[in-house]
């Protein structure tokens, strides 16, 4: 019995030690980089926020931001995500309280380069500005957004994502 315990410990202890060292090392590294990572992430969001409401400042709510310019609430910004042609599309959407889109910017997407990725280009995203959320549909679906040729799926995905999320936020903010 003693022998057995000894044998087991002989084998297990190196692994345990390595595990502990690893845990410690990683925590240390994490501590080193944590702030930076958060800053980077925040930066991404801020960048997209600021392209939507120029010059505004933002207060974070549950799942959306309230944009204020000199204390006055001018609109809401929120992240909308859903599945496109090649994977998840994350967008930052800005909306005025009256249900008009102020702007859309793509945070991340994995569509086909040269095709679906054109949804991130201003030519496409600028179309959203000033549209009412009911109208945020592809033209062929009865809306006012022109799809990108050859990338109907991506175009439709993004309009649907934006509209659906906008409707939810609209209800929440009422």
């Amino acid at each position: 019995m003693r022998e057995e315990v000894k044998r087991i410990l002989g084998i297990a202890i190196p692994l345990i030690i390595i595990c502990i060292i690893s845990g410690a090392a990683l925590t240390a590294t994490y501590g080193l980089t944590e702030e930076r990572i958060e800053a980077v992430e925040q930066q991404k969001i801020n960048e997209s926020l600021s392209t939507i409401f120029l010059g505004a400042s933002f207060t974070e709510m549950d799942d959306y931001y309230i944009a204020t310019v000199s204390g006055e609430e001018i609109g809401y910004a929120f992240i909308a995500e859903g599945t496109g042609y090649g994977g998840t599309i994350r967008t930052m959407v800005g909306m005025y309280p009256n249900g008009t889109i102020s702007g859309v910017s793509i945070i991340s997407q994995s569509e086909t380069p040269g095709l679906g990725t054109r949804i991130a280009e201003p030519d496409f995203t600028n179309q959203f500005s000033g549209k009412r959320i009911e109208g945020v549909r592809l033209r062929r679906d009865g809306g006012v957004i022109d799809a990108i040729t050859g990338a109907t799926i991506s175009s439709r995905a993004i309009t649907d994502i934006v509209r659906e999320r906008a409707e939810v936020v609209m209800n929440e903010t009422r």
Partner: protein, 277 residues
């Protein structure tokens, strides 16, 4: 910090102890000798040992040491290495080579059309050669050799003795049974396999053995005997003097070239040529 270390520590304990415990309970003995022997084996997977792959032979050898004799392909060094691993002592191993016993000089008896392999051609009216023992020349043996030791030159087939390790794969492939495995010490060789009567052979082939027994008479050591209309050399007795070669009128008996440049010299079968030593 603490959480991470604890989590990792716990995982380490659980798995470390688990694996350690399990490794005691569940230990299955594997023999590392198998690995080492496999490394020493030639790795041609030629199948001549009766096992489908070198590794299988290695496994068998560990159980039955003397099976190592089955591998014809390993050289002296690996042979000794394997004996070392097994902790046994075997005497000097016999080394063998393959030689093709036909000069392919027989005339055709008809025009063959069909699958161009020896084995298939041999099944059509006994082969298209007038001599029913003659090489059919499609080179099944060449394709069979795992060591690329056989090659065709002109119409004849030769073994490159630097490459051949006597594995016997070609022997199995030749439908005519023309390839003979002989001791590596062989210096002369009867390049015919026809047991037909001399009269028959002489009619259809210029280089065939007619069983005239001139070689038998020429050999001082009685190493060559005509049996069943064909001369057979006993390499245990033969010292390679070449007297039989001199005696044969048809050039049926040829020298065996072991030299490094064997590729070029093997096929020159002229009666006056003789190997020294």
């Amino acid at each position: 910090m603490i959480e991470a270390v604890i989590v990792m520590g716990v995982l380490g304990i659980v798995f470390g102890v688990g694996l350690a415990y399990a490794s005691g309970k569940l230990e299955v003995h594997v023999d590392e000798r198998v690995e080492r022997i496999t490394e020493l084996l030639p790795g041609g997977n030629c199948g001549a040992c009766g096992f489908p792959a070198c590794r299988e032979l290695a496994e068998a050898v560990v159980k039955d040491h003397y099976l190592i004799n089955n591998c014809r392909a390993c050289n002296e060094d690996s042979w000794l290495g394997i004996c070392n691993i097994l902790g046994i002592e075997l005497g000097r191993r016999k080394q063998e080579i393959a030689l093709v016993a036909c000069s392919c000089d027989s005339v055709d008896k008809f025009e063959y059309e069909g699958v161009r392999t020896c084995a298939a051609a041999a099944l059509v009216m006994g082969g298209f050669k007038a001599c029913k023992h003659a090489c059919l020349g499609f080179g099944d043996c060449v394709h069979a050799c795992p060591f690329s030791a056989l090659e065709r030159r002109g119409y004849q087939y030769f073994v490159d003795l630097r490459k051949c390790i006597g594995c016997g794969a070609c022997v199995d492939a030749c439908p005519r049974g023309l390839i003979k495995i002989v001791d590596k010490s062989a210096e002369v060789f009867v390049r015919c396999n026809s047991p037909d009567k001399g009269k028959v052979v002489a009619k259809i082939c210029e280089k065939g053995c007619i069983g005239c027994k001139l070689c038998e008479k020429a050999c001082e050591r009685e190493a060559i005997k005509v049996e069943n209309n064909i001369a057979v050399i006993d390499y245990g007795l033969c010292n390679g003097c070449g007297a039989c070669m001199e005696a044969c009128k048809f050039g049926t008996i040829v020298p065996v070239f072991h030299a490094e440049d064997a590729v070029d010299s093997t096929p020159k079968v002229t009666r006056t040529e003789k190997k020294s030593g």
